[in-house]
């Protein structure tokens, strides 16, 4: 399903004043494409993603997913949070099955699906462990599997690898790319990391400082499927350089 963001803006109003987090933003994400969002801290990236997820109400504008207006969270849009947000009282397997259980999928079927995802993320041996026993990278893999097991049309990822070390991060990036190539979900992926943004995306959206607007959309035409070799091509380096320039300009403007 495609995601259409039309003139979406957000102003937070509280007793201590108002914060204009997001200036009107419009963006069309075609079905099955992988879009990354880059922008300075506090420019409203998370806010935008939360509006698409239906966790936050836009002050103006509408979001349409597959043509239907968003008016609350739903199983069609999965989300992966920066802080993993696994349910600590559920085992790895139960976490992965959470959405299926909410949907009323019978236990046998749930188990078959969680088995598949456990294998995919290489955590079969940890199926019955609790989140407290996992490393950060393992937790994030479970969070991604939990979102995917629910088979959402759209996957929203908010700096999912922010807390991981460089090596784990690179492996997780390839993992997500593999998943995307296999299932062709529509993906919106927020990151701080220019290299990550280029490596994953069909297009990189660069946002301005707060209140965030879209400054530029940079298409990424690197061949797919991509693995770490892609990072060493001149095209990759050129894109990185261009994005670095845009962001430096934005920050010093």
């Amino acid at each position: 399903m495609d995601v259409q963001i039309e003139n979406v803006a957000k102003t937070f109003v509280s007793r201590r004043g108002t914060v204009e987090a997001l200036a009107p933003v419009s963006l069309d994400v075609p079905a099955g494409s992988f879009v990354t969002i880059l922008g300075p801290s506090g420019c409203g990236k998370s806010t935008l993603l939360r509006i698409v997820a239906g966790l936050e109400e836009a002050s103006q504008g509408v979001v349409r997913v597959g043509g239907r207006e968003v008016c609350g969270p739903g199983a069609d849009r999965g989300m992966v949070f920066q802080a993993y947000s696994l349910f600590p009282w559920l085992t790895v397997r139960e976490n992965i099955e959470f959405g299926l259980r909410a949907k009323g999928v019978p236990p046998r079927e749930r188990r078959a699906i969680s088995d598949e995802y456990l294998r995919q993320i290489g955590l079969e041996a940890f199926a019955d462990r609790y989140p407290k026993e996992l490393s950060g990278g393992m937790k994030q893999r479970v969070a991604i599997a939990r979102a995917l097991a629910n088979d959402p049309q759209v996957l929203l990822l908010d700096e999912p690898f922010g807390a991981l070390d460089a090596q784990t991060r690179a492996i997780m990036q390839e993992h997500v790319l593999g998943v995307w190539e296999k299932y062709h979900k529509t993906i919106l992926f927020v990151t701080h990391d220019i290299e990550e943004a280029v490596f994953m995306a069909d297009a990189v959206v660069v946002m301005t400082k707060r209140p965030g607007r879209i400054r530029e959309v940079v298409p990424v035409d690197l061949p797919r499927p991509r693995d770490y070799h892609a990072r060493f091509t001149p095209e990759f380096t050129a894109l990185k350089e261009r994005l670095t320039e845009i962001i430096r300009e934005e920050l010093t403007a």
Binding site: A53, G54, L55, G72, P73, G74, A75, R77, G78, M79, F81, A83, S85, F87, P88, W89, L90, F98, G99, R101, A102, K103, Y130, P131, K132, R146, A147, N150, L156
Partner: protein, 278 residues
């Protein structure tokens, strides 16, 4: 911090056996050492007490020796049917506490989950909480007499209001991110309450129940001191009338032991129940 330990332990083999081990802020000690310290605390108390009585520093009329108290306790059980008193008190605490929980859990959960219910109930309960249960005893005696109902009612009144408020607070403590994650996984409101908000709050609610059970013991003794024909509090009061300090102290110790044992049991059960906790 941790990473440096093995290194300097290797550099100086004796390093790991530094004096004062375990006295690092928030440091850990082995379970066996913990037990040793705990036993030392109790033995120390008994030693000081024995010393005071054996040197006649205090009049044994007011503080008998530990051995004397144990002897008195044995007599209480053997000749005076103290076992029945203990059972009566335990049963009252259990009934009052169960009644308070049966009301406070659903009400507190509803209050925590739904703001309108909180607005309706919270001010009333907060007000009621400041009325001491013991002050209700005379009124309760007038209402329901001096029988079992009065004892159970004192415990009920003493625990129910605080319990409601604390349960509601624990429910409110649900992490917003976990609730949001559940919604993005397609959970309904009812599913979120049942599978996120409640499991998230159970450990804290359980600890609160443990705490309030301790208070229930205080209330029952007060109730039994005022008016009762059985129970530990009743025996304590009778003993005071006969200047029998040994029995009084033994009664108090029995309350302490029962409280300690029930708390240990609940603690262990809690650890088993909530193994997922970090």
């Amino acid at each position: 911090m941790r990473a440096e330990r093995p290194l300097d332990a290797r550099a100086t083999p004796a390093g790991s056996r530094r004096p004062g081990r375990g006295f690092k802020p928030l440091g850990e000690i082995p379970a066996s050492l913990y037990t040793t310290y705990a036993a030392a605390g109790f033995l120390g108390l008994v030693a000081v007490w024995s010393l005071l009585t054996s040197t006649r520093a205090v009049d044994p009329l007011f503080l008998p020796s530990p051995a004397e108290i144990l002897r008195r306790g044995w007599e209480l059980f053997r000749d005076m049917g103290f076992g029945a008193d203990v059972a009566a008190t335990v049963l009252r605490v259990f009934l009052g506490f169960a009644a308070a929980s049966a009301v406070a859990l659903p009400l507190g959960i509803l209050m925590g989950v739904y703001r309108p219910i909180e607005a309706l109930v919270e001010p009333l309960v907060s007000f009621a909480r400041y009325m001491p249960a013991s002050a209700f005893i005379p009124l309760l005696i007038l209402w329901v007499g001096v029988g079992e109902a009065e004892k159970v009612a004192v415990i009920f009144l003493g625990s129910v209001f605080s319990l409601v408020l604390m349960v509601a607070v624990h429910i409110r403590q649900a992490q917003r991110e976990l609730v949001e994650a559940a919604y993005t996984l397609g959970a309904s409101d009812a599913f979120v309450v049942r599978h996120v908000i409640l499991p998230n709050a159970w450990p804290a609610i359980y600890d609160t129940l443990r705490l309030v059970l301790g208070w229930a013991w205080t209330y029952i003794i007060v109730a039994e001191l005022v008016a009762a024909d059985s129970g530990i509090g009743h025996v304590i009061l009778q003993s005071q009338r006969m200047l029998n300090t040994g029995n009084i102290i033994f009664g108090i110790l029995v309350i302490g032991v029962i409280g300690l044992v029930s708390d240990l049991v609940m603690k262990a059960a809690g650890r088993a129940l909530f193994a997922w906790r970090g």
